[in-house]
Protein backbone atom coordinates (compact mmCIF):
# COMPACT_ATOMS: atom_id res chain seq x y z
CA UNK A 1 0.00 0.00 0.00
CA UNK A 2 1.42 3.34 -1.05
CA UNK A 3 1.86 6.07 1.55
CA UNK A 4 -1.01 8.53 1.81
CA UNK A 5 -0.53 11.21 -0.84
CA UNK A 6 -1.98 14.54 -1.89
CA UNK A 7 -3.57 14.85 -5.33
CA UNK A 8 -0.48 16.72 -6.54
CA UNK A 9 1.76 13.87 -5.38
CA UNK A 10 -0.51 11.27 -6.98
CA UNK A 11 -0.48 12.97 -10.38
CA UNK A 12 3.30 13.34 -10.31
CA UNK A 13 3.81 9.72 -9.16
CA UNK A 14 1.54 8.41 -11.92
CA UNK A 15 3.50 10.33 -14.57
CA UNK A 16 6.85 9.22 -13.17
CA UNK A 17 5.81 5.56 -13.27
CA UNK A 18 6.14 5.33 -9.49
CA UNK A 19 3.77 3.97 -6.86
CA UNK A 20 4.58 6.82 -4.54
CA UNK A 21 6.56 10.02 -4.28
CA UNK A 22 7.33 12.32 -1.39
CA UNK A 23 7.96 16.05 -1.16
CA UNK A 24 11.50 17.04 -2.04
CA UNK A 25 12.03 14.02 -4.32
CA UNK A 26 13.44 14.84 -7.77
CA UNK A 27 11.65 12.88 -10.48
CA UNK A 28 11.43 12.74 -14.24
CA UNK A 29 7.89 12.66 -15.60
CA UNK A 30 6.13 11.96 -18.88
CA UNK A 31 4.13 15.00 -19.91
CA UNK A 32 0.61 14.99 -21.28
CA UNK A 33 0.81 18.47 -22.78
CA UNK A 34 3.41 21.17 -23.36
CA UNK A 35 2.40 24.69 -24.35
CA UNK A 36 3.92 28.02 -25.25
CA UNK A 37 2.77 31.38 -26.59
CA UNK A 38 4.12 33.92 -29.07
CA UNK A 39 6.47 35.47 -26.49
CA UNK A 40 7.91 32.23 -25.10
CA UNK A 41 7.61 29.83 -28.05
CA UNK A 42 10.37 31.32 -30.23
CA UNK A 43 12.99 30.45 -27.60
CA UNK A 44 11.35 27.06 -26.96
CA UNK A 45 11.42 26.33 -30.70
CA UNK A 46 15.13 27.14 -30.73
CA UNK A 47 15.55 24.60 -27.96
CA UNK A 48 13.57 21.95 -29.87
CA UNK A 49 15.86 22.48 -32.84
CA UNK A 50 18.95 22.10 -30.67
CA UNK A 51 17.74 18.96 -28.89
CA UNK A 52 16.14 16.86 -31.65
CA UNK A 53 14.52 18.99 -34.34
CA UNK A 54 11.13 17.28 -33.83
CA UNK A 55 8.30 17.62 -31.35
CA UNK A 56 7.67 14.40 -29.42
CA UNK A 57 3.98 14.31 -30.39
CA UNK A 58 2.29 16.93 -32.62
CA UNK A 59 -1.00 16.37 -30.76
CA UNK A 60 0.48 17.09 -27.36
CA UNK A 61 2.30 20.29 -28.19
CA UNK A 62 0.14 23.40 -28.01
CA UNK A 63 1.04 26.76 -29.53
CA UNK A 64 -1.22 29.72 -28.81
CA UNK A 65 -0.16 33.12 -30.10
CA UNK A 66 -2.07 35.40 -27.74
CA UNK A 67 0.24 37.92 -26.09
CA UNK A 68 1.03 40.29 -28.95
CA UNK A 69 -1.42 39.12 -31.60
CA UNK A 70 -3.09 40.36 -33.70
CA UNK A 71 0.48 41.49 -34.26
CA UNK A 72 1.24 44.69 -32.39
CA UNK A 73 4.37 45.66 -34.34
CA UNK A 74 6.88 44.31 -36.82
CA UNK A 75 8.97 42.51 -34.23
CA UNK A 76 5.89 40.84 -32.79
CA UNK A 77 4.84 39.84 -36.28
CA UNK A 78 8.21 38.15 -36.75
CA UNK A 79 7.83 36.25 -33.47
CA UNK A 80 4.29 35.14 -34.36
CA UNK A 81 5.56 34.01 -37.76
CA UNK A 82 8.25 31.83 -36.17
CA UNK A 83 5.51 30.10 -34.17
CA UNK A 84 3.19 29.73 -37.18
CA UNK A 85 5.92 28.35 -39.44
CA UNK A 86 7.03 25.87 -36.79
CA UNK A 87 3.45 24.71 -36.17
CA UNK A 88 2.99 24.05 -39.90
CA UNK A 89 6.34 22.35 -40.31
CA UNK A 90 5.74 20.02 -37.35
CA UNK A 91 2.04 19.41 -37.98
CA UNK A 92 1.10 20.75 -34.55
CA UNK A 93 -2.64 20.10 -34.21
CA UNK A 94 -3.29 22.57 -31.39
CA UNK A 95 -2.08 25.72 -33.10
CA UNK A 96 -4.63 28.52 -32.88
CA UNK A 97 -4.45 31.23 -35.52
CA UNK A 98 -5.90 34.71 -35.10
CA UNK A 99 -9.62 34.26 -35.63
CA UNK A 100 -9.61 30.96 -33.74
CA UNK A 101 -7.29 31.82 -30.90
CA UNK A 102 -8.06 33.09 -27.44
CA UNK A 103 -6.11 33.87 -24.32
CA UNK A 104 -4.47 30.47 -23.82
CA UNK A 105 -5.64 29.69 -20.29
CA UNK A 106 -9.23 30.54 -21.15
CA UNK A 107 -9.07 28.80 -24.53
CA UNK A 108 -7.64 25.40 -23.63
CA UNK A 109 -10.13 24.49 -20.86
CA UNK A 110 -12.99 25.78 -23.04
CA UNK A 111 -11.88 23.67 -26.00
CA UNK A 112 -11.50 20.54 -23.86
CA UNK A 113 -7.78 20.31 -24.58
CA UNK A 114 -6.82 19.99 -20.90
CA UNK A 115 -8.40 17.49 -18.54
CA UNK A 116 -8.34 16.16 -15.00
CA UNK A 117 -5.24 14.23 -13.98
CA UNK A 118 -3.11 15.67 -16.77
CA UNK A 119 0.48 16.70 -16.16
CA UNK A 120 1.07 19.90 -18.11
CA UNK A 121 3.92 22.35 -18.42
CA UNK A 122 3.57 25.65 -20.17
CA UNK A 123 5.96 28.45 -20.94
CA UNK A 124 3.62 30.89 -19.27
CA UNK A 125 3.38 31.34 -15.54
CA UNK A 126 -0.42 31.17 -15.50
CA UNK A 127 -0.39 27.59 -16.77
CA UNK A 128 -1.40 26.77 -13.18
CA UNK A 129 -4.95 27.74 -14.24
CA UNK A 130 -5.71 24.12 -15.26
CA UNK A 131 -5.46 23.06 -11.63
CA UNK A 132 -9.13 24.04 -11.46
CA UNK A 133 -9.86 20.98 -13.62
CA UNK A 134 -7.82 18.71 -11.34
CA UNK A 135 -4.70 18.76 -13.51
CA UNK A 136 -1.16 19.32 -12.25
CA UNK A 137 -0.18 22.24 -14.47
CA UNK A 138 2.75 24.53 -13.91
CA UNK A 139 4.56 27.37 -15.58
CA UNK A 140 8.12 26.94 -16.79
CA UNK A 141 10.54 28.87 -18.95
CA UNK A 142 11.15 28.40 -22.64
CA UNK A 143 14.04 25.95 -22.22
CA UNK A 144 12.01 23.58 -20.03
CA UNK A 145 9.10 23.89 -22.47
CA UNK A 146 11.37 23.34 -25.47
CA UNK A 147 12.94 20.24 -23.94
CA UNK A 148 9.42 19.06 -23.03
CA UNK A 149 8.27 19.60 -26.62
CA UNK A 150 11.22 17.63 -27.96
CA UNK A 151 11.24 14.78 -25.44
CA UNK A 152 7.83 14.69 -23.74
CA UNK A 153 9.63 14.78 -20.42
CA UNK A 154 10.44 17.21 -17.62
CA UNK A 155 12.05 17.03 -14.21
CA UNK A 156 10.17 18.04 -11.11
CA UNK A 157 10.91 18.46 -7.47
CA UNK A 158 7.84 17.04 -5.78
CA UNK A 159 6.32 20.00 -3.93
CA UNK A 160 4.75 19.98 -0.52
CA UNK A 161 1.06 20.87 -0.66
CA UNK A 162 -0.59 23.73 1.22
CA UNK A 163 -4.25 22.97 1.77
CA UNK A 164 -6.58 25.97 1.65
CA UNK A 165 -9.99 25.33 3.16
CA UNK A 166 -12.67 27.94 2.45
CA UNK A 167 -15.80 26.94 4.34
CA UNK A 168 -19.12 28.72 4.54
CA UNK A 169 -21.03 30.85 2.09
CA UNK A 170 -19.59 33.71 0.06
CA UNK A 171 -21.65 36.89 0.32
CA UNK A 172 -23.42 38.03 -2.87
CA UNK A 173 -20.97 39.95 -5.05
CA UNK A 174 -17.96 38.08 -3.67
CA UNK A 175 -16.35 36.03 -6.43
CA UNK A 176 -13.54 33.55 -6.98
CA UNK A 177 -11.28 36.53 -7.75
CA UNK A 178 -11.95 37.94 -4.30
CA UNK A 179 -11.19 34.54 -2.75
CA UNK A 180 -7.76 34.33 -4.37
CA UNK A 181 -6.90 38.00 -3.71
CA UNK A 182 -7.92 37.49 -0.07
CA UNK A 183 -5.68 34.42 0.18
CA UNK A 184 -2.68 36.15 -1.41
CA UNK A 185 -3.17 39.06 0.97
CA UNK A 186 -3.11 36.56 3.81
CA UNK A 187 -0.07 34.46 2.87
CA UNK A 188 1.94 36.86 0.68
CA UNK A 189 3.45 36.66 -2.79
CA UNK A 190 5.82 33.91 -1.65
CA UNK A 191 3.39 32.31 0.79
CA UNK A 192 3.36 29.09 -1.22
CA UNK A 193 6.85 29.30 -2.75
CA UNK A 194 8.03 25.90 -4.07
CA UNK A 195 4.66 24.46 -2.91
CA UNK A 196 1.42 23.34 -4.52
CA UNK A 197 -1.86 24.83 -3.35
CA UNK A 198 -5.00 22.73 -3.03
CA UNK A 199 -8.28 24.61 -2.67
CA UNK A 200 -11.10 22.85 -0.82
CA UNK A 201 -14.10 23.63 1.34
CA UNK A 202 -17.80 24.22 0.85
CA UNK A 203 -17.32 27.73 -0.58
CA UNK A 204 -15.02 26.40 -3.32
CA UNK A 205 -17.39 23.51 -4.06
CA UNK A 206 -20.21 26.02 -4.57
CA UNK A 207 -18.29 28.02 -7.21
CA UNK A 208 -18.90 27.63 -10.94
CA UNK A 209 -15.95 26.54 -13.08
CA UNK A 210 -15.19 30.01 -14.47
CA UNK A 211 -14.59 31.35 -10.95
CA UNK A 212 -12.57 28.28 -9.97
CA UNK A 213 -10.32 28.90 -12.97
CA UNK A 214 -9.74 32.47 -11.68
CA UNK A 215 -8.61 31.05 -8.34
CA UNK A 216 -6.19 28.46 -9.74
CA UNK A 217 -4.94 31.04 -12.25
CA UNK A 218 -3.46 33.20 -9.52
CA UNK A 219 -1.81 30.41 -7.48
CA UNK A 220 1.47 31.63 -9.03
CA UNK A 221 0.86 35.05 -7.46
CA UNK A 222 1.38 33.34 -4.09
CA UNK A 223 4.51 31.67 -5.49
CA UNK A 224 2.63 28.39 -5.93
CA UNK A 225 3.80 25.73 -8.34
CA UNK A 226 0.23 24.54 -8.96
CA UNK A 227 -3.26 25.42 -7.75
CA UNK A 228 -5.38 22.30 -7.66
CA UNK A 229 -9.08 21.91 -7.01
CA UNK A 230 -10.43 18.39 -6.42
CA UNK A 231 -12.64 17.02 -9.20
CA UNK A 232 -16.34 17.08 -8.36
CA UNK A 233 -19.67 17.22 -10.18
CA UNK A 234 -19.00 20.80 -11.33
CA UNK A 235 -15.70 19.68 -12.89
CA UNK A 236 -17.28 16.65 -14.55
CA UNK A 237 -20.17 18.69 -15.90
CA UNK A 238 -17.67 21.17 -17.38
CA UNK A 239 -15.49 18.48 -18.96
CA UNK A 240 -18.34 16.35 -20.32
CA UNK A 241 -18.72 17.08 -23.99
CA UNK A 242 -15.42 18.98 -24.07
CA UNK A 243 -12.65 16.61 -23.02
CA UNK A 244 -12.56 13.70 -25.43
CA UNK A 245 -9.57 11.89 -23.91
CA UNK A 246 -10.12 9.68 -20.87
CA UNK A 247 -9.31 11.60 -17.73
CA UNK A 248 -8.46 10.60 -14.16
CA UNK A 249 -9.84 12.27 -11.06
CA UNK A 250 -7.21 12.17 -8.33
CA UNK A 251 -8.18 13.06 -4.76
CA UNK A 252 -5.92 13.64 -1.79
CA UNK A 253 -6.02 10.78 0.70
CA UNK A 254 -7.82 11.72 3.92
CA UNK A 255 -4.61 11.15 5.89
CA UNK A 256 -2.26 12.80 3.36
CA UNK A 257 0.37 15.09 4.86
CA UNK A 258 0.07 18.80 4.04
CA UNK A 259 2.77 21.39 4.70
CA UNK A 260 0.08 23.40 6.38
CA UNK A 261 -3.62 24.07 6.31
CA UNK A 262 -4.94 27.60 5.79
CA UNK A 263 -8.53 27.87 7.00
CA UNK A 264 -10.65 30.76 5.77
CA UNK A 265 -14.21 31.58 6.76
CA UNK A 266 -16.04 32.52 3.56
CA UNK A 267 -17.93 35.17 5.50
CA UNK A 268 -14.66 37.04 6.11
CA UNK A 269 -14.08 37.56 2.37
CA UNK A 270 -15.28 40.86 0.91
CA UNK A 271 -14.87 42.40 -2.56
CA UNK A 272 -11.11 42.92 -2.57
CA UNK A 273 -8.67 45.14 -4.43
CA UNK A 274 -4.89 44.63 -4.64
CA UNK A 275 -3.10 47.98 -4.51
CA UNK A 276 0.15 48.65 -6.34
CA UNK A 277 2.66 47.12 -6.63
CA UNK A 278 2.07 43.58 -5.39
CA UNK A 279 -0.95 41.25 -5.63
CA UNK A 280 -0.58 40.70 -1.86
CA UNK A 281 -1.17 44.38 -1.11
CA UNK A 282 -4.89 43.83 -0.65
CA UNK A 283 -7.61 45.96 0.92
CA UNK A 284 -11.41 45.79 0.93
CA UNK A 285 -12.71 47.57 -2.19
CA UNK A 286 -14.88 49.62 0.18
CA UNK A 287 -11.69 51.20 1.55
CA UNK A 288 -10.39 52.19 -1.90
CA UNK A 289 -13.04 54.73 -2.92
CA UNK A 290 -10.52 57.57 -2.80
CA UNK A 291 -8.59 56.09 -5.74
CA UNK A 292 -9.50 57.86 -8.99
CA UNK A 293 -8.92 55.85 -12.16
CA UNK A 294 -8.15 56.62 -15.79
CA UNK A 295 -8.79 53.17 -17.20
CA UNK A 296 -10.59 49.91 -16.46
CA UNK A 297 -9.59 46.63 -18.10
CA UNK A 298 -12.00 43.71 -17.98
CA UNK A 299 -10.55 40.51 -19.44
CA UNK A 300 -7.38 38.35 -19.33
CA UNK A 301 -6.70 34.72 -18.46
CA UNK A 302 -7.87 35.52 -14.94
CA UNK A 303 -11.26 37.09 -15.70
CA UNK A 304 -12.03 37.03 -19.42
CA UNK A 305 -14.51 34.14 -19.37
CA UNK A 306 -18.26 34.23 -19.94
CA UNK A 307 -19.25 34.49 -16.26
CA UNK A 308 -16.85 37.43 -15.93
CA UNK A 309 -18.43 39.16 -18.92
CA UNK A 310 -21.91 38.53 -17.48
CA UNK A 311 -20.88 39.95 -14.10
CA UNK A 312 -19.40 43.06 -15.70
CA UNK A 313 -22.41 43.53 -17.96
CA UNK A 314 -24.83 43.18 -15.05
CA UNK A 315 -23.18 46.26 -13.52
CA UNK A 316 -22.86 48.21 -16.78
CA UNK A 317 -26.38 47.54 -18.06
CA UNK A 318 -28.17 50.84 -18.54
CA UNK A 319 -25.17 52.85 -17.37
CA UNK A 320 -22.29 54.63 -19.06
CA UNK A 321 -18.61 54.69 -18.30
CA UNK A 322 -17.41 57.85 -16.51
CA UNK A 323 -16.22 60.46 -19.04
CA UNK A 324 -12.72 60.47 -17.52
CA UNK A 325 -12.33 56.68 -17.84
CA UNK A 326 -11.48 54.40 -20.77
CA UNK A 327 -13.10 51.02 -20.21
CA UNK A 328 -11.60 48.20 -22.27
CA UNK A 329 -13.42 44.88 -22.38
CA UNK A 330 -11.64 41.86 -23.83
CA UNK A 331 -13.59 38.61 -24.07
CA UNK A 332 -10.85 36.00 -23.73
CA UNK A 333 -11.88 33.69 -26.57
CA UNK A 334 -13.84 33.78 -29.81
CA UNK A 335 -16.52 31.64 -28.18
CA UNK A 336 -16.86 34.05 -25.25
CA UNK A 337 -16.96 36.94 -27.75
CA UNK A 338 -19.74 35.29 -29.76
CA UNK A 339 -21.67 34.44 -26.60
CA UNK A 340 -21.41 38.08 -25.53
CA UNK A 341 -23.14 39.00 -28.79
CA UNK A 342 -25.78 36.29 -28.50
CA UNK A 343 -26.65 37.19 -24.91
CA UNK A 344 -26.79 40.92 -25.65
CA UNK A 345 -23.79 41.65 -23.44
CA UNK A 346 -21.99 43.29 -26.35
CA UNK A 347 -24.82 45.83 -26.65
CA UNK A 348 -24.50 46.54 -22.95
CA UNK A 349 -20.76 47.18 -23.31
CA UNK A 350 -21.16 49.34 -26.41
CA UNK A 351 -24.07 51.29 -24.96
CA UNK A 352 -21.90 51.95 -21.89
CA UNK A 353 -19.12 53.36 -24.13
CA UNK A 354 -16.70 50.47 -23.55
CA UNK A 355 -14.10 49.59 -26.14
CA UNK A 356 -14.42 45.88 -26.91
CA UNK A 357 -11.43 44.04 -28.33
CA UNK A 358 -10.76 40.75 -30.05
CA UNK A 359 -9.05 38.26 -27.68
CA UNK A 360 -5.51 39.19 -26.66
CA UNK A 361 -3.38 39.34 -23.50
CA UNK A 362 -2.50 42.88 -24.68
CA UNK A 363 -2.82 45.33 -21.81
CA UNK A 364 -2.46 42.84 -18.94
CA UNK A 365 1.28 42.68 -19.41
CA UNK A 366 1.70 46.14 -20.85
CA UNK A 367 1.94 44.83 -24.39
CA UNK A 368 -0.59 47.00 -26.22
CA UNK A 369 -4.34 47.76 -26.41
CA UNK A 370 -4.44 49.95 -23.33
CA UNK A 371 -0.99 51.10 -22.21
CA UNK A 372 -0.91 53.61 -19.35
CA UNK A 373 0.82 56.99 -19.52
CA UNK A 374 3.00 58.31 -16.70
CA UNK A 375 1.06 58.63 -13.46
CA UNK A 376 -2.13 57.05 -14.81
CA UNK A 377 -4.13 54.54 -12.78
CA UNK A 378 -6.08 51.50 -13.95
CA UNK A 379 -8.35 49.06 -12.25
CA UNK A 380 -8.01 45.69 -13.92
CA UNK A 381 -9.40 42.19 -13.61
CA UNK A 382 -5.93 40.93 -14.52
CA UNK A 383 -3.42 39.21 -12.24
CA UNK A 384 -0.37 41.41 -11.68
CA UNK A 385 0.18 44.98 -10.58
CA UNK A 386 3.97 45.15 -10.54
CA UNK A 387 5.81 48.40 -11.30
CA UNK A 388 5.32 49.22 -14.98
CA UNK A 389 3.13 46.17 -15.58
CA UNK A 390 0.59 48.03 -17.76
CA UNK A 391 2.78 50.80 -19.08
CA UNK A 392 4.87 53.65 -17.74
CA UNK A 393 6.80 52.72 -14.58
CA UNK A 394 5.01 55.51 -12.69
CA UNK A 395 1.55 54.20 -13.64
CA UNK A 396 -0.48 52.08 -11.22
CA UNK A 397 -2.62 48.96 -11.50
CA UNK A 398 -5.30 47.92 -9.00
CA UNK A 399 -6.57 44.34 -9.27
CA UNK A 400 -10.21 43.43 -8.72
CA UNK A 401 -13.16 41.30 -9.78
CA UNK A 402 -15.12 42.15 -12.97
CA UNK A 403 -18.04 43.62 -10.99
CA UNK A 404 -15.78 45.97 -9.02
CA UNK A 405 -13.88 46.99 -12.16
CA UNK A 406 -17.16 47.69 -13.99
CA UNK A 407 -18.56 49.71 -11.09
CA UNK A 408 -15.31 51.67 -10.85
CA UNK A 409 -15.43 52.41 -14.58
CA UNK A 410 -18.82 54.06 -14.10
CA UNK A 411 -17.89 55.88 -10.89
CA UNK A 412 -14.52 57.20 -12.08
CA UNK A 413 -12.96 55.93 -8.89
CA UNK A 414 -12.69 52.50 -7.28
CA UNK A 415 -16.02 51.44 -5.83
CA UNK A 416 -18.67 48.77 -5.51
CA UNK A 417 -21.78 48.03 -7.59
CA UNK A 418 -23.93 49.15 -4.64
CA UNK A 419 -22.33 52.61 -4.84
CA UNK A 420 -24.01 53.21 -8.21
CA UNK A 421 -27.19 55.19 -8.70
CA UNK A 422 -30.07 52.87 -9.59
CA UNK A 423 -30.62 52.59 -13.31
CA UNK A 424 -33.50 54.79 -14.49
CA UNK A 425 -36.69 52.88 -15.26
CA UNK A 426 -36.81 54.23 -18.81
CA UNK A 427 -33.40 52.82 -19.62
CA UNK A 428 -34.44 49.54 -18.04
CA UNK A 429 -37.57 49.26 -20.15
CA UNK A 430 -35.79 49.83 -23.44
Amino acid sequence: MARPMTMAEKILAAHAGLDEVEPGQLIECDLDLVLANDVTAPLAIKTVREVSGRVFDPERVILVPDHYVPNKDIKSAEQAKIVRDFAREQGVTHYYEVGCMGVEHALLPEQGVVGAGDLIIGADSHTCTYGALGAFATGVGSTDAGVGMATGKAWFKVPETVKVVVDGTLAPGVTGKDVILHLIGLIGVDGALYQALEFTGSAIEALPMDERLSISNMAIEAGGKAGLIPVDDVTRAYMDGRVERPYTAYQSDPDAAFARVVEIDAADIVPTVAFPHLPSNTRPAAEARHVRIDQAVIGSCTNGRLDDMRQAAAVLRGRTVHPDVRCIVIPATQQVYRQCIEEGLMDVFLDANCAVSTPTCGPCLGGYMGILAAGERAIATTNRNFVGRMGDPTSEVYLSSPAVAAASAVLGHIGLPEDLEPVAAAADAE
Binding site: V39, K46, A123, V140, G141, V147, G223, P393
Partner: protein, 164 residues
Protein backbone atom coordinates in the same frame (compact mmCIF):
# COMPACT_ATOMS: atom_id res chain seq x y z
CA UNK B 1 33.42 28.51 -11.35
CA UNK B 2 34.77 31.57 -9.57
CA UNK B 3 33.41 35.08 -9.88
CA UNK B 4 34.43 38.39 -8.39
CA UNK B 5 32.67 41.70 -8.79
CA UNK B 6 30.84 44.67 -7.36
CA UNK B 7 27.46 44.14 -5.73
CA UNK B 8 24.21 45.73 -6.88
CA UNK B 9 21.83 45.19 -3.98
CA UNK B 10 18.03 45.11 -4.17
CA UNK B 11 15.07 44.30 -1.90
CA UNK B 12 12.50 41.52 -1.90
CA UNK B 13 10.08 40.37 -4.64
CA UNK B 14 12.12 41.69 -7.56
CA UNK B 15 9.73 40.56 -10.29
CA UNK B 16 10.47 39.57 -13.86
CA UNK B 17 8.46 42.55 -15.15
CA UNK B 18 11.06 44.92 -13.70
CA UNK B 19 13.96 42.62 -14.64
CA UNK B 20 12.83 42.92 -18.25
CA UNK B 21 9.61 44.84 -18.97
CA UNK B 22 7.14 43.23 -21.35
CA UNK B 23 7.42 46.15 -23.76
CA UNK B 24 10.75 44.62 -24.80
CA UNK B 25 9.49 41.05 -25.12
CA UNK B 26 8.97 41.37 -28.86
CA UNK B 27 12.55 40.15 -29.18
CA UNK B 28 14.68 37.36 -27.73
CA UNK B 29 18.01 39.00 -28.60
CA UNK B 30 20.17 38.90 -25.42
CA UNK B 31 22.10 42.11 -26.18
CA UNK B 32 18.92 44.09 -26.76
CA UNK B 33 17.26 42.65 -23.64
CA UNK B 34 20.36 43.56 -21.62
CA UNK B 35 20.01 47.22 -22.59
CA UNK B 36 16.74 47.41 -20.62
CA UNK B 37 17.55 45.09 -17.73
CA UNK B 38 16.08 46.32 -14.41
CA UNK B 39 15.32 49.75 -15.90
CA UNK B 40 11.94 50.14 -14.14
CA UNK B 41 13.52 49.32 -10.76
CA UNK B 42 16.88 51.03 -11.12
CA UNK B 43 17.24 53.19 -14.21
CA UNK B 44 20.99 53.59 -13.55
CA UNK B 45 21.76 49.86 -13.39
CA UNK B 46 22.56 49.34 -17.07
CA UNK B 47 24.92 52.32 -17.02
CA UNK B 48 26.75 51.16 -13.88
CA UNK B 49 26.94 47.42 -14.34
CA UNK B 50 30.31 45.97 -15.32
CA UNK B 51 31.10 42.46 -16.55
CA UNK B 52 31.52 40.17 -13.56
CA UNK B 53 29.27 42.18 -11.25
CA UNK B 54 26.97 40.45 -8.80
CA UNK B 55 23.30 41.02 -7.94
CA UNK B 56 22.29 40.51 -4.30
CA UNK B 57 18.60 40.56 -3.33
CA UNK B 58 16.23 39.52 -0.57
CA UNK B 59 13.42 36.96 -0.77
CA UNK B 60 11.51 35.75 -3.86
CA UNK B 61 13.84 37.08 -6.57
CA UNK B 62 12.36 36.66 -10.06
CA UNK B 63 8.72 36.29 -9.07
CA UNK B 64 5.92 36.67 -11.59
CA UNK B 65 6.07 35.87 -15.27
CA UNK B 66 7.86 32.78 -16.61
CA UNK B 67 9.79 34.82 -19.17
CA UNK B 68 13.21 33.27 -19.67
CA UNK B 69 14.16 36.65 -21.07
CA UNK B 70 14.75 37.63 -17.41
CA UNK B 71 17.79 35.45 -16.64
CA UNK B 72 18.94 35.93 -20.25
CA UNK B 73 18.85 39.73 -19.83
CA UNK B 74 20.73 39.58 -16.52
CA UNK B 75 23.40 37.30 -17.93
CA UNK B 76 23.79 39.48 -21.01
CA UNK B 77 24.53 42.54 -18.86
CA UNK B 78 27.64 40.69 -17.71
CA UNK B 79 26.33 39.74 -14.28
CA UNK B 80 27.65 36.26 -13.48
CA UNK B 81 25.78 35.37 -10.34
CA UNK B 82 22.67 36.34 -8.36
CA UNK B 83 22.67 35.78 -4.61
CA UNK B 84 19.28 35.93 -2.89
CA UNK B 85 17.50 34.75 0.23
CA UNK B 86 15.14 32.78 -2.02
CA UNK B 87 14.17 32.59 -5.69
CA UNK B 88 10.74 32.27 -7.27
CA UNK B 89 10.59 28.72 -8.58
CA UNK B 90 10.22 29.38 -12.32
CA UNK B 91 13.15 31.82 -12.23
CA UNK B 92 15.15 29.22 -10.28
CA UNK B 93 14.62 26.65 -13.05
CA UNK B 94 15.21 29.18 -15.82
CA UNK B 95 18.51 30.34 -14.31
CA UNK B 96 19.80 26.78 -14.01
CA UNK B 97 18.57 25.86 -17.48
CA UNK B 98 20.20 28.88 -19.11
CA UNK B 99 23.44 28.84 -17.15
CA UNK B 100 23.01 31.92 -14.92
CA UNK B 101 24.60 31.05 -11.57
CA UNK B 102 22.32 31.53 -8.56
CA UNK B 103 22.94 31.01 -4.86
CA UNK B 104 20.56 30.96 -1.90
CA UNK B 105 22.23 32.40 1.19
CA UNK B 106 20.14 34.54 3.59
CA UNK B 107 23.13 35.27 5.88
CA UNK B 108 25.21 36.66 3.04
CA UNK B 109 22.32 38.81 1.80
CA UNK B 110 21.89 40.31 5.26
CA UNK B 111 25.59 41.12 5.56
CA UNK B 112 26.53 42.32 2.07
CA UNK B 113 26.10 46.02 1.28
CA UNK B 114 25.54 47.71 -2.06
CA UNK B 115 28.90 48.39 -3.71
CA UNK B 116 30.83 45.74 -1.76
CA UNK B 117 33.29 43.64 -3.72
CA UNK B 118 32.37 39.98 -3.40
CA UNK B 119 34.13 36.79 -4.46
CA UNK B 120 32.11 33.66 -5.18
CA UNK B 121 33.19 30.07 -5.63
CA UNK B 122 30.04 28.57 -7.13
CA UNK B 123 31.33 24.99 -6.97
CA UNK B 124 32.25 25.17 -3.29
CA UNK B 125 29.23 27.38 -2.56
CA UNK B 126 31.35 29.96 -0.76
CA UNK B 127 30.72 33.70 -0.78
CA UNK B 128 33.37 36.11 0.51
CA UNK B 129 32.74 39.80 1.02
CA UNK B 130 36.20 41.22 0.32
CA UNK B 131 35.10 44.66 1.49
CA UNK B 132 34.29 43.41 5.00
CA UNK B 133 36.22 40.13 5.08
CA UNK B 134 33.13 38.11 6.02
CA UNK B 135 32.63 34.63 4.51
CA UNK B 136 29.45 32.61 4.00
CA UNK B 137 28.37 29.23 2.64
CA UNK B 138 25.33 28.96 0.38
CA UNK B 139 22.73 26.17 0.27
CA UNK B 140 24.24 23.35 -1.81
CA UNK B 141 22.38 22.26 -4.96
CA UNK B 142 20.97 18.72 -5.09
CA UNK B 143 23.23 16.41 -7.18
CA UNK B 144 20.67 16.23 -10.00
CA UNK B 145 20.62 20.00 -10.43
CA UNK B 146 24.40 20.09 -10.14
CA UNK B 147 24.52 17.76 -13.15
CA UNK B 148 22.52 20.25 -15.22
CA UNK B 149 24.74 23.13 -14.11
CA UNK B 150 27.91 21.17 -14.83
CA UNK B 151 26.62 20.18 -18.28
CA UNK B 152 26.17 23.90 -19.04
CA UNK B 153 22.38 23.90 -18.91
CA UNK B 154 19.42 21.66 -19.69
CA UNK B 155 19.91 21.56 -23.47
CA UNK B 156 23.55 20.35 -23.41
CA UNK B 157 22.56 17.75 -20.81
CA UNK B 158 19.78 16.40 -23.03
CA UNK B 159 21.99 16.45 -26.11
CA UNK B 160 24.56 14.36 -24.28
CA UNK B 161 21.83 12.00 -23.04
CA UNK B 162 20.30 11.52 -26.50
CA UNK B 163 23.75 10.94 -28.00
CA UNK B 164 24.42 8.06 -25.58
Amino acid sequence: MEFKGTVHRYGRDVDTDVIIPARYLNTSDPAELARHCLEDLDAGFVGRVRPGDIIVAEENFGCGSSREHAPIAIKATGVDVVIAKSFARIFYRNAINTGLAIMECPEAVDAIADGDVVRVDADAGTITDETTGQAFTAQPFPPFIREIIEAGGLVPRWKARLAD
